[in-house]
Symmetry: C2
Subunit: 155 residues, 2 copies
């Protein structure tokens, strides 16, 4: 059982790469965590948005079956860090499957992905780059692990 952070398109910004590496290392004290980078779908703006998101979805699809899927989406539920840690604990205890955190492509998620969703999470009402979303969810997973292990976290 492990955590998986799935996103589309390389992370190019250096400081974000460094931050993700740091949280990956810290999180692995608690749990295995894989970063899965899916290829960017071609023809953005040349095919319909629906078709584009459908092509994106085909890339995500192979990771969705037999996992707990947390879909990150601006329209998702806003919860606090303690609720988030409890949710993870429940998924670990009762689902006993790998936990995916799924960040959408340039146009967001295809509607098809929600059939596989165990929880739809919003990190913020504000928009961030997909790179920043990968960094933020990494930090929140680390925070959750600290909370669940009753460890102190610097403010």
């Amino acid at each position: 059982m492990k955590f998986r952070i799935i996103y589309t398109g390389d992370i190019k910004t250096k400081f974000i790469k460094k931050g993700i590496d740091q949280y990956k290392k810290w999180n692995e004290r608690f749990f295995n965590i894989d970063y899965v980078c899916l290829p960017l779908t071609k023809n953005l703006g040349k095919i319909s948005d629906k078709d584009y998101k459908q092509k994106d979805f085909q890339n995500y699809k192979k990771y969705l079956s037999n996992s707990t899927n947390i879909i990150l989406d601006e329209r998702g539920k806003l919860i606090d860090s303690v609720d988030f840690s409890n949710k993870i604990e429940n998924f670990k205890t009762y689902n006993r499957k790998d936990i995916n955190f799924i960040i959408g492509g340039p146009l967001g998620h295809s509607e098809d992905i929600y059939k596989y969703s165990d929880f739809t999470l919003s990190l913020s009402t504000m928009t961030f780059t997909h790179e920043m979303a990968v960094l933020l969810i990494s930090e929140q997973i680390y925070r959750a692990n600290k909370i669940l292990n009753n460890e102190k976290y610097h403010y």
Copy 2:
């Protein structure tokens, strides 16, 4: 007229420092932006929370008069990035003062600070370190500048 990001306690995490430097540089295409690091108040846990926050407040106080003050607070208002950019534009146009973004100390803000608040903003219902908050608000200011200048922003 300039932007000011005011926070308490040094930013020690290297990748966050780098990210803030990057956004500072990018933001300065649009606007002057200063980062004001206030000293960490001593005796955390040894004096009452109220007294601690009151001491913190004394450090913030000298920046509050004659500025537009946006207080960052988990209990603040959740808005999207476009609303955020409109808010900044309005403050620039009608208040014509420096705009402070004020991030709290280890125990959060003293109640006294809200007397000076023009807007109380929540970046997320989730808790982040104060370092991450400085990074996130820097990114949102940059995004707002891009939105207001009709420039494309990578997703």
